[in-house]
């Protein structure tokens, strides 16, 4: 059995059939996981100024860039092992660098509050064994974490949920569109307007407090009724909800207080986003957006977005992430105007504009290590085939060595 790194469910019940040092077939992995394990068609090659070179030269050039930068950002980290992340944080400390990860414009707000214990949470195994009411909120797990419903939440028989999903569990979807997950939650789909989550939460809090909510009163009272009856509930908070209430995120805490039988689960996409957030939190008390000086300083201006807008970084090293693909177009010119080091297994948009590229191994396929599942459980990653590519952990070792 091996582990899939297709998403933060880190399914560790995968069979990989290897032939001639290639994964020929996968079993139990979903469509996305299978594609990830079989690998991309365009592997990255080492390059400097978009000219192919050898990996040693690429690493040397990277050392030049990180040493000479006045204020460098180390960014990415969500597709790296915990081991590589720890070394990346060490590197940031030594360089007095700014460090940020994709959670900065993803689920960071949520994971931060979970690690601060401001929101009650539980394990996915608890959900499988006990949960009777499941709320997918701004989360289309069927497309983003495809085995979430089958492995843990709705369909499996668990210790106190032995009779099957039709009798034992209720799945609810709250979303702006009828997603594939909403389709599964037949009869319990609450469609809300774009950016309407805050108002929905306020009305739900009213309904849970025994008041008559102004919002779609009938549906709201019905939903409050289901939630109140829950023995063990879970709210799966997707990026849809996080983005929608980002200006007033603590409203989610207010809702959670009204639902003592519920736990909050962050629906994380990248396989080891939580790993990075936990590591940096342990080190500094913050999950992202940190600048190391004498001590760790946390500020929104150290987010990748604001750092680029305010032009307060003069170089960036990107590990296992493609910000050129995932950030808004207006700031891409700012990203492309500073030296960029791109460490990735595959050619990406970012690698196409990078000053230096360093190819690395595909974690979970060509190199092992550990990662943290969306619920905080540590999962071992497997090395399934051997390749000549350096794991990103080893690249971090090389950089640490070179600067000390």
């Amino acid at each position: 059995m091996v582990t899939c790194t297709g998403c933060a469910l880190l399914c560790d019940d995968i069979e990989a059939i290897v032939e001639n040092n290639r994964i020929k077939e996968t079993r139990n992995a979903c469509r996305r996981g299978a594609a990830r394990m079989k690998g991309c068609v365009n592997r990255l090659v080492p390059s400097i100024d978009q000219q192919p070179t050898d990996i040693e030269s690429s690493i040397r050039k990277t050392v030049d860039i990180i040493k000479n930068a006045r204020s460098i950002m180390l960014f990415g980290w969500n597709n790296s092992t915990c081991e590589a992340q720890a070394k990346g944080i060490r590197l940031a400390k030594k360089l007095n660098a700014v460090i940020d990860d994709t959670s900065s414009f993803c689920q960071g707000l949520l994971i931060e509050r979970i690690l601060q214990k401001k929101l009650r949470t539980c394990s996915l195994d608890d959900i499988r064994n006990k949960a009777d009411v499941l709320v997918y909120w701004g989360s289309d797990a069927q497309d983003s974490q495809p085995r979430h419903l089958s492995r843990f939440s709705y369909f499996p028989r668990g210790e106190s949920r032995q009779r099957g999903y039709e009798e034992d569990r209720k799945a609810i979807a709250i979303d702006v569109r009828e997603s594939n997950t909403a389709k599964i939650c037949k009869g319990h789909f609450y469609r809300i307007p774009l950016k309407g989550d805050r108002e929905f939460i306020l009305a739900l809090i009213e309904a849970l407090s025994g008041k008559v909510p102004v919002y779609d009163t009938k549906k709201m009272l019905e939903l409050a009724g289901i939630l109140k009856k829950a023995e063990f509930g879970a709210i799966f908070v997707g990026i849809g909800l996080t983005y929608s209430i980002k200006e007033d995120f603590d409203i989610l805490i207010a809702l959670a207080e009204k639902l003592p039988n519920f736990n909050i689960m962050p629906m994380v996409g990248h396989y080891n986003m939580r790993g990075f957030n936990e590591a940096l939190f342990k080190e500094t008390g913050f999950v992202n957006r940190v600048k190391f000086e004498k001590e760790a300083i946390h500020d929104d201006k150290y987010s990748i977005m604001e750092s680029l807008i305010e032009k307060n970084i003069d170089a960036i090293m990107i590990v296992g992430s493609d910000p050129l693909a995932s950030l808004p177009r207006p700031i891409l010119k700012d990203l492309a105007s500073i030296p960029v080091v791109c460490i990735d297994p595959c050619i990406s948009m970012t690698s196409k504009i990078a000053t230096v590229t360093i190819p690395c191994a595909v974690t979970g396929v060509e190199s092992g290590g550990t990662a943290i599942r969306m619920d905080g459980k540590l999962i071992r990653l497997s090395k399934i085939i051997t390749s000549g590519y350096m794991p990103d952990e080893e690249i971090m070792d090389r950089l640490l060595e070179a600067i000390s």
Partner: protein, 152 residues
Amino acid sequence: MVTVMELYQLLPRTNCKKCGESTCMAFAVALLGRKKNVAACTPLLEVNFKPQKEKLESLLLPSAGAEETGLIVHPELCTGCGNCVVACPVDVANDPHGAGMGCAPTNDKVIFKVVDGKVIASNIKECRRFGKSRVLCYACIDPCPTGAIEFV
């Protein structure tokens, strides 16, 4: 999924019995159950029934790849989420500590398995829609988010 009525409405509806069934409705049922071929209805072979005949054949086409129970998986629609693997009552009964708990199947007695990110069906004789005491079970269809499984 095509219904008996849809098939019936494309037939001559003369109850001529040339196909060996007593009524056109009975023939439609036989078509749906794969017990008779469209060609058994000789009036349909006449020129003025050509569009109806073609429509009938296209409606019944997916069955070419169907299992004996009429089960078809459309691999191009399947996301490999495994909802059917876990929800199938046969899989739960035959592998309670594997598939039944949401984990990878631990034996070969299950009907559904995900291979290369898409579900495949085997052990089809175990399906509740098969055999003498068959029931019209929808346990694998209902949990499918993309309509990748159907019975014809």
